[in-house]
Amino acid sequence: MTKTGIFLCVCPSATSAIDIEKTAKSIELADRVVYPYRYLCSQRGLRFLDDCIDKDKLDRIFIVACPEDIHRHVFKRASSSKGPGIEYINIGKIKDEKGLIDSIKERLKEDRGKVIKEEVMTREVLVIGGGVGGVQAALDIAEEGYKVYVVERTLSVGGVMAQLDKTFPTMDCSICILGPKLVDAGKTPNIELITNADIKNITGKAGDFNVEVEIQPRYVDMEKCNGCSACVEVCPVILPNEWDLNLKPRKCIYVMFAQSVPLRYTIDKEKCIECELCKKVCELDAINLDEEPKRRTLNVGAIVLATGTQTFDASRKKQYGYGRIKNVVTNMEFERIICASGPTSGELLRPDGKHIKKVAFIQCVGSRDIHFHEYCSSYCCMASIKEGRLVMEHDPDAEVWIFYNDLRAFGKGFEELYVRSEKEGIKFIRGLPGEIRENAETEDPIVTFEDTKTGKVSEIGFDMVVLAVALEPSEQNPRLAEMLDLEIDPHGFFKELNSTSRPLETSNRGVFLAGTCQGPKDIPETVAQASGTAAKVCTLFSEINQPAKRL
């Protein structure tokens, strides 16, 4: 006769609604003993478990406790020295003793000892998204000795950070610190960058994912092109440059930005007139106007999602007139306006050529607003302080106003920068403006606001108003989530396994999260988290290496 022990972890958070005694009574038989224990996963609990196995000569063991992934490593190690393997029942989803009793009885009927077959294991990793988060994850995973593919939708890795001018709180130049990292990623032998590509399908599970990638044609052979730019000179088609808010021209054959990685040219096929001038001038014969999309299938053991965010469409907030009023811009656009390599070469000019002397920043546009996104985007208070400081650096006489609700300067060195900026003359006005109108003659935006510190309603004209827009989950998230069988949180970001204790993992054991695709965050947090996923990949690969005995 086999003797079964059912260990019930009585922890206050999971079992407060369950009558343990009643449960025990209705399950116990001569060959079946229920052992309730408070915090079975503690060191004491393990001792208790060991003692009971020995004392009562148990040869089948159930552990009824919180979700397995929290404690599996504890019980697995404890049991490997003892005889019987351990079967788990998750108490997390069980509401009352009836549910508990039913699920225990159900499991008792099941054939035990289903040995799971040895897991297949590919020690290669896919990173989806090549922003600073994805690139950092790739670098760290490659450093651990694994091969990494980075699939990036656009023409270059870099993400949002590549577009920024300076970065808070230390105000260093964004591309200067990011650029070399990108170059590194491009050069590391273990990293393969697959840019201009989309994920079409993913099947499989941890250890063995099959990923179908479609690579869009660049019409320029990546192997041959050396970035000499001879083609650009001859291309007759001049187009507005999206990278610089369409304020600067580019040719139909172009690179996304000067520090692009890979630095290879691409033809904007929709606008191409097929004059083939570029083809003639290219000494390396790199141009092929008939290139077709290519498909590739990658087999990887783990996936890191680093798809970042998109910015809120400010025209949805009608009262601020974005899209209608010319000199109301988003902070992303302002980053380009103020950037040395931007459309105005770093001069603080409006599109009409007027010098920007008086700027207003409006916070929480699309964030902390139940009409749009309830969450705080967490980067924008500091981004506005940063941009405000830059304005004053360009022109010490400029006036900078920041309209806010709560000023969230919570990170390392943030409060210090805030205090310094206030001392140095940035005006901080508590209270968000009600609306923005345009002065028809001067095209100056006029801001109506109530200062909650003084209770007065005023109207002030500015040369430019900058809207600090929300970071929102990418529209692509649901599709990826479906392919990977992941949960999306109520806001649309990828849901982590547990927002306090397992911020990097997801409900799919082989999928990890890096950066803002998990929720808004700044660069340091993105980078730290991305490095963290490298450790998770390492753990997964060593876990799968030692197949679990039974389930």
């Binding site: 260093d172 591309i175 610190i177 650029g179 491009g186 309830e374 306090t500 990097l504 988290q529």
Partner: protein, 779 residues
């Protein structure tokens, strides 16, 4: 050497960062006029792929054998450009960087002409040094694939677990008798319903039973020697006085006559001198608090398994590890330091940590947050935010987690006491995680009131009730409120014991007192010391999730390091020329790393540098009376050449600033990053350590006519990256001061200053003062 010197000079625009202030084309033109310069170019971004390609192409095309890059701080891109030149076949040490951004364009933003002139001087200095650069080779050393994790809080536990799971051995050192850190004291965590126990217990147990983790509780790190891949660590294991055979029966505690305040419950109840820190403490054995034990022996007799041994002794262990993670966490702010809150004076003013303990069913009040004065249910409760944070005269920083913790606590209190009036007095509500804003709305909807204002005073009225005076921002006037219990949302402070670690490992701290990362954005986990990483709240206030994510990040760095069997160390070391050495042995005494030994060459005593042990500080070179020692990349000849170039024109108007690489140079960089403007007549010369400087080198600057000389290094006692280089420097400067008048030099022209990497402001102040003095002297 007969080799013809062929130098390429690259002047970077850094977008507009440099070019907006410095006239880069003038600088490039000037560079091309210098001797031995074969090409000189401008480049928008030298560090971009195209910029690097240009340099590589030029090296090949023009046969360059030296490269000078005038751009940002070498602290940022020296590794990048070293690699660039290597790729073109040049020895990496034949590249010299000239810092015209942090040390020029960013600090002279409104002085275009002077900044351009300065940039020209700096380039001239760089070229002068470059001529004399020697090729060096990197050293290879084996790595020990064991890691040390200091601190057994949630961050340390996570880091240790991840490294151990990857198959490496980990030593986890915790100073307290149990693992767990501050999370053990929390009653709930903000964002979800998981209890902190369910988070922490499996991690603590997991660490204890993990075959790859060895846990030392009640232990301390005494010393750390060595370098990346090869650290030697001494650990002291304090005695527990109770053996592992303890069965937790608690008989000992019952008989122990000594009662002391219970730190785990934030002083709200007492424990015995023999105790279990908390029920789930791990390792789960009792422990004797020897500070309070009277050695009466009652416990020894009471123990049924003879587990108590009051003669238990301290043990010292030596471990060899390849990498170290510091996860020493934080300390809660002690509100006694702020009299206006009257904490400790009035019973019903408690801290948020105390409230956490009260809310714990196992806590001192059995989970009921009752008034300490009379055990009554409070009906009017106030939370006061930013206690010990965001102050002008105290901690300037925001503690980040206290708003969140207050929202969480207010929610719990409102559920327990639906009738109670709960008000939160705050300045800004700072919630950052995606799920918190909803919780904030829910507590407001549940009736918790949020009042924006400044607390002026907390006083006591009848029946231990409290009166608080607040300047309400909304009403723009003073208001007074009767309150029955006040909760102070205390901030987070750097851990005092963590600071011991600072002295032992030399990880610098910022002005806020927390450990400083190598780069705030790109290397938020690394420290300036190779092989040493940071995790959790020891870096600055962090919540649990962030601590955990970062700890995994630190673990990944360690795994990356351990994926290789051998490591490269750079080639910057010192070397003795036996022909010049007179065997005096001074260098042997002064080397902080015992890296110089005595050997006999043809029956004469000579000094010899042990290459693997040498850290390249150059303290020996600064000490050697005969100039027999060369500190590579910072040779006397090279330093002289830089001084010559700097002082070629108008020497009397210039200030030569010798800055050590780790503190002062970084401090000057920080002045740049912070755009702190200072006079344009400062010429910085970098050495690895201030201890590299000999009296002769300083004198040389005066001989060449320098108006003023600044020598600056890391703050004593503990900041010096090379243990005692700063003291050696101080000795030399002090002795030189005495002889200066004899040489007709006013000692006022020489100044010694300690400037840390965070003290950009100090660098600015000192250089301004010196410039002013120089002006005054000149009249």
């Amino acid at each position: 050497m007969g080799e013809e010197i062929r130098i390429g000079v690259y002047v970077c625009h850094c977008g507009k960062n440099i070019a907006a202030v410095v006239d880069t084309s003038t600088v490039a033109d000037f560079a091309s006029s210098l001797n031995d310069v074969v090409v000189a170019r401008e480049n928008t971004y030298c560090c971009a792929e195209t910029g690097q390609a240009q340099i590589r192409d030029d090296i090949k095309e023009h046969n360059l054998n030296r490269v000078v890059i005038a751009s940002c701080s070498p602290k940022l891109h020296e590794p990048t450009f070293r690699r660039t030149v290597t790729e073109a076949g040049l020895n990496p040490y034949l590249m010299e960087m000239v810092n015209i951004r942090e040390h020029c364009s960013w600090v002279h933003m409104r002085e275009r002409d002077a900044a351009t002139k300065k940039a020209m001087d700096l380039v001239k200095m760089g070229v002068a040094k470059a001529r004399l650069l020697q090729p060096l080779s990197d050293r290879e050393v084996p790595t020990t694939k064991n890691a040390l994790v200091i601190g057994g809080g949630i961050a340390g536990l996570q880091a240790a677990t991840d490294i151990a799971n990857a198959g490496h051995r980990v030593y986890l050192v915790e100073k307290a008798p149990t693992l767990g850190g501050k999370v053990a004291q929390l009653s709930g965590v903000s964002s979800d319903h998981q209890s902190p126990e369910c988070l922490l217990i499996p991690m603590m147990t997991g660490a204890i039973i993990h075959p790859n983790i060895e846990v030392f509780t009640n232990a301390e790190v005494k010393s750390v020697d060595g370098y990346i891949g090869n650290f030697k660590v001494r650990i002291i294991k304090h005695p527990r006085y109770v053996k592992e055979s303890c069965i937790l029966c608690g008989e000992c505690s019952a008989v122990c006559p000594v009662e002391v305040s219970n730190e785990f419950n934030a002083g709200m109840d007492s424990r015995k001198a023999i105790y279990l820190p908390f029920e789930q403490a791990t390792p789960s054995t009792y422990v004797v608090d020897m500070k309070h034990c009277t050695r009466c022996g009652l416990c020894v007799e009471s123990c049924p398994v003879n587990a108590i041994d009051l003669e238990d002794r301290e043990e010292e262990l030596e471990l060899e590890v390849g990498s170290i993670i510091v996860a020493t966490g934080f300390e809660s702010f002690d509100p006694r330091n702020k009299p206006k809150y009257s904490y400790s004076q009035f019973k019903n003013v408690i801290t948020s940590l105390q409230l956490e303990r009260m809310l714990d069913p196992e806590g001192p009040t059995g989970g009921k947050p009752l008034r300490p004065s009379d055990g009554r249910k409070p009906t009017k409760i106030a939370f006061i935010q930013c206690v010990g944070s965001r102050e002008e005269d105290g901690n300037q920083y925001c503690s980040k987690i206290c708003c969140m913790s207050t929202i969480k606590q207010a929610k719990t209190l409102k559920t327990l006491f639906p009738e109670a009036d709960i008000t939160v007095y705050y300045r800004d509500i700072r919630l950052t995680k995606k799920e918190l804003e909803k919780m904030y709305r829910e507590v407001r909807e549940a009736g918790v009131l949020f009042v924006r204002g400044d607390i002026k005073e907390v006083s006591e009225t009848e029946g231990n009730n409290l009166l608080i005076k607040v300047h309400s921002e909304t009403l723009n006037r003073m208001i007074s409120r009767d309150i029955e219990m006040v909760i102070l949302a205390v901030g987070l402070e750097p851990c005092i014991d963590g600071n011991l670690i600072k002295e032992i490992i030399k990880v610098p701290t910022g002005t806020d007192g927390f450990f400083m990362e190598a780069h705030p954005k790109l290397r938020p986990i690394d420290t300036v010391i190779d092989g040493v990483y940071l995790a959790g709240a020891c870096l600055g206030p962090k919540d649990i999730a962030e601590s955990i994510a970062q700890a995994s990040g630190a673990a990944a760095k360690v795994c990356g390091l351990f994926s290789k069997d051998r490591l490269k160390l750079d080639g910057i070391i010192s070397k003795v020329d036996p022909d010049v050495c007179i065997g005096c042995g001074i260098c042997i005494k002064q080397c902080p790393f015992h890296a110089i030994i005595e050997e006999e060459i043809e029956e004469e005593k000579k000094a010899k540098v042990v290459e693997a042990a040498c850290k390249g500080c150059g303290v020996c070179a600064g000490a050697c009376p005969t100039g027999a020692i060369e500190a590579f990349s910072f040779t006397t000849e090279q330093l002289h050449a830089q001084i010559d170039a700097a002082l070629e024109e108008n020497p009397g108007e210039k200030i030569i600033a010798f800055c050590c690489n780790w503190c002062s140079y970084a401090g000057a960089d920080f002045a740049g990053v912070s755009r702190l403007q200072y006079p344009t007549n400062v010429r910085i010369i970098r050495t690895m350590c201030s201890g590299r400087l000999s009296k002769d080198i300083i004198l040389y600057a005066f001989e060449k006519g320098a108006g003023m000389v600044l020598v600056s290094g890391c703050h004593p006692p503990g900041d010096c990256h090379y243990v005692s280089g700063n003291y050696r420097c101080e000795e030399r400067v002090n002795s030189l001061m005495k002889t200066l008048p004899k040489k007709g030099i006013d000692p006022k022209r020489l100044r010694l200053e300690w400037i840390s990497a965070a003290e950009g402001v100090v660098f600015q102040r000192v250089t301004k003062e010196m410039a002013k003095e120089l002006n005054d002297v000149k009249g």
